[in-house]
């Protein structure tokens, strides 16, 4: 082809030779395995990883449930049932309190309304049911919720659940998620009035995690009740809104007095 016969510009080469060049060049660039193969392999590996991960997480959750002892705290008849504080009078309204020992909102609730709840429980004017949950252990990657709950339910054997419970909230960690040391929890037991031989058996219960499965069962029961946040306060089965309430109006809302 004579030079002066070609059109001006860089795209003068015939289309066919241009394509050949592109294919040649592309052939040397495409070094990866065939898309079908890599697609299939990645899909299969991805599915295996996801399924395996799910099974592992499920097994971990199951082993947490079967870890530790299967004792029930004194006064509780079955797994998943709440712990009733005090001795309610016949026909007293039921106050269900769902809380996690580590939850800052629960600490706030206890600071404001704890004394009112205690008064109603001790007077028997309300059936105060504690549903102690422990999901914050997952968020904070620890066992502080379960350990504090263990201490409290071990104290129930000496009728000191309430005192232990109140001590835990009175000594909330300065930083959310920091939890309590074993020595602190033992101190709460002592502060609750557990001493001497009782303290020794409290320690055995605490160290052996005697109530572990009960604590896990309560967490599961709470989740199944649709409790996805703490504190949740229910009066005769209906969730209460505490906005704008003070201890007196709260007591009145519960007991009518």
């Amino acid at each position: 082809m004579a030079k002066n016969a070609t059109p001006p510009g860089r795209h003068a080469a015939p289309e066919s030779s241009r394509r050949d060049k592109i294919q040649q060049a592309a052939g040397s660039v495409r070094t990866g395995p065939s898309p079908m193969v890599i697609g299939g392999v990645v899909a299969i590996v991805a599915i295996i990883v996801v399924v395996a991960w799910t099974i592992i997480a499920n097994n971990n959750a199951k082993s947490a449930q079967s870890k530790g002892g299967s004792q029930l705290p004194k006064g509780v008849a079955a797994m998943g049932q709440p712990f009733t504080r005090g001795t309610p009078a016949a026909g007293a309204p039921t106050l269900d309190i769902y809380e996690d020992f580590q939850c800052p909102g629960c600490h706030q609730f206890e600071t404001t309304f704890g004394a009112a709840v205690r008064a109603m429980a001790e007077a028997g004017t309300a059936k105060v049911n504690y549903h102690i949950m422990s999901f914050l252990d997952d968020r904070y990657r620890g066992e502080n919720s379960v350990r504090a709950a263990t201490g409290a339910f071990c104290a129930a054997a000496f009728d000191r659940f309430g005192q232990f419970h109140d001590s835990v909230y009175a000594n909330a960690p300065a930083k959310e998620g920091q939890g309590w040391t074993d020595a602190q929890l033992e101190q709460f037991a002592t502060d609750s009035g557990i001493t001497g031989a009782d303290l020794t058996s409290w320690k055995t219960c605490y160290t052996g995690r005697a109530m572990q499965q009960y604590i896990v069962s309560m967490e599961t029961a709470g989740e199944k009740d649709g409790i996805v946040n703490t504190p949740t306060i229910k009066l005769n089965g209906t969730a209460m809104t505490l906005d704008g309430m003070d201890p007196a109006s709260f007591t009145k809302a519960v007991t009518g007095k």
Partner: protein, 169 residues
């Protein structure tokens, strides 16, 4: 747009030419991929919290929601990684779009049913105060990400991708 003498548009996609749309694809890939990757990574170490977040929607049976909560973060990580490196872009975009569509449906349904939950998209989740819900924002974000996914479904070609490097697509 220029046209060469063979009548081919110079901006038409070929193996070598990176077009403006290819960069749009790259942006869509990175936005969708990084969000998925981060969301998955934040949740993957907290299986119980993730399970609770799914259960909080009250859409699925308790145990089904639990298992989805365990597996979902890993799915997000894998799909997010594929999008970031640009491998199997169209396939990853299909899964990502399905996820985003499911998230949008879940959040809208929680909103309509009057639930007060955090979407749990980046960890956390569960019931929160009504005043703290941010459904419009969560829906808008996931709808935007869904658009990224649908775009890649329509046109998976993008710059800086393994698909392009290895297969020229």
């Amino acid at each position: 747009m220029t046209t060469d003498l063979a009548g081919r548009s110079a901006t038409a996609p070929t193996e070598d030419a990176v077009t403006r749309l290819d960069w749009v694809g790259t942006l869509a890939r990175l936005v969708l991929g990084i969000v998925l990757l981060v969301a998955g990574a934040l949740k993957v170490g907290h299986p119980a919290a993730s399970a609770r977040a799914v259960q909080a929607y009250q859409l699925l049976p308790y145990d089904v929601a639990r298992l989805i909560g365990y597996g979902l973060p890993m799915v997000e990580i894998i799909v997010g990684s594929l999008l970031v490196i640009g491998l199997l872009t169209r396939g990853a975009a299909v899964v990502a779009s399905l996820l985003m569509a499911a998230f949008v449906i879940g959040i809208v349904s929680a909103w309509v049913r009057g639930l007060a939950i955090d979407c749990g998209c980046f960890g956390g989740g569960g019931t929160i105060a009504k005043a703290d819900t941010s459904y419009p924002l969560e829906v808008a974000r996931d709808a935007g990400l869904l658009l990224c996914g649908l775009y890649l479904l329509w046109r998976p070609r993008s710059a800086l991708s393994l698909d392009r490097r290895w297969y020229g697509i």
